[in-house]
Structure formats: C-alpha cells, structure tokens
C-alpha cells in the first residue's frame, strides 16, 4: 500500500470537470485507489462518490492505492491534484 497527502488547490475543488478528470485517471490503474479526507474514505474510481463528496479548495486529502501499480497510481493522482487541473 502506498499513500500520500496533498492539498486541493484549484478553485472548483474535486468537483465537476476536475472530478471527472481525477476519476478517469484513477480508472487507468489496476490498483484499488481511495481518497481519504478526515473520517471519509471514498473509492477514487467512482464518479458518483467523488462528485457527491465535493472536496473543496484548501482541503488536505490522502490518496491511497493498493495493488500492482500502486506507486504509479499515487504519483499520477497526486501530480494531478498538485497541478490544479489546469485551473491555476
């Protein structure tokens, strides 16, 4: 299992188009991927779960992956969030 904390910096947060970009990227990996925020833990591959959680700008989240490509998955998703989804 690999995990890393990252702060959401884009204005929209992990919602709407950024949520869609994030979930699509997560689905590109074989590993199970979760987003953890406080006591919430959601499946990063589910668009409904990610959109309904609507994580806001400024929130610290942990991205956690387990599986054969866990390192690549966490790195790619952390980079996406750090990159601000092209909004910043």
């Amino acid at each position: 299992m690999v995990s890393e904390q990252v702060r959401i910096i884009n204005p929209t947060g992990l919602h709407a188009r950024p949520a869609s970009v994030f979930v699509k990227a997560a689905n590109g990996f074989r590993s199970d991927v979760a987003v953890i925020s406080g006591d919430k833990r959601i499946n990063a591959k589910s668009i409904v779960k990610v959109m309904s959680t609507a994580l806001k700008q400024g929130t610290d989240i942990v991205i956690e992956a387990s599986g054969e490509d866990e390192t690549e998955a966490v790195r790619a998703l952390v980079d996406l969030v750090k990159g601000g989804f092209g909004e910043v």
């Binding site: 188009r17 869609s20 309904s52």
Partner: protein, 131 residues
C-alpha cells in the same frame, strides 16, 4: 462508446444539460438533446427522440434520460420506431436528469458498457444535496 440522449419537455433544459455533460466528457461521448415538440413548444416528441437515439448510437448502445411523465411515454413510442437491433441496446435510466446524465457521461467516456453506465447513472439517486 455508449451514447446518451436527454429527453426533456423543454428544449432549453435538454440543450443546457447536453452542454454540461460535454464539459465532463471532453467531446468523447455523444450526448444528444431531444427536448420540446416538433415546433419547439413545451412537450416531447417521439420522432425527435428516435432521431436522437439513432444519432447517439455508435454500436454500443444508448442510455436515455427523461424528465417528467409523458417524456417516458414518448420515449417508449420512440423505442417502437427503432429497428430491431438498435431497439435491443437502448434503455431508459431510472435516474435524475442532470446528476444522472453528468455521471453517466463520465462513466461512458471511460469506455464502460451500457449496463455499467446505467448503474452509475442510477447510483446518482443517492447523491445528497445537503451533506
């Protein structure tokens, strides 16, 4: 890729929902509006819906979203107008129009099959506004 049709009594609702879905799909998914009557009044039109379904299909099926009451009836009539093969791969989503179509578009853009896209759409019924 699975296609999507938005059936609404209002052409503006159908067009606006399509616009929102397209923002999520980056142009990968065909999302086709079928709103209003043939003379663009408030209502629904089976022929318009049938044409939208044909346009949305690329061989992997079409998921149809409807708004109120008779939109469902017009869509059933539209299904009867389709050829046999296409008729087999068209389903109505039992889901909210906006939330359902947006998440379905994302799911379809990942190359999922019709049943998976439909399941994601129907999962959106559980999305809470106030949590």
């Amino acid at each position: 890729m699975v296609g999507i049709v938005i059936v609404s009594h209002s052409d503006k609702i159908a067009q606006g929902t399509v616009e929102l879905c397209e923002q999520m799909s980056q142009g990968l998914v065909k999302v086709i509006p079928a709103g209003g009557t043939s003379d663009n009044d408030i209502g629904t039109d089976a022929t318009k819906i049938e044409k939208a379904i044909v346009q949305a299909d690329s061989g992997e099926g079409v998921l149809v979203f409807v708004d109120l009451g008779s939109a469902m009836m017009s869509t059933d009539v539209a299904f009867e107008l389709l050829n046999g093969e296409l008729r087999k791969r068209v389903v109505i989503a039992d889901a909210p129009l906006v939330e359902g179509s947006v998440v379905a578009t994302v799911q379809a853009s990942m190359g999922s099959d019709l049943e998976t896209v439909r399941a994601t759409a129907e999962e959106s019924r559980e999305m809470s506004k106030l949590e």
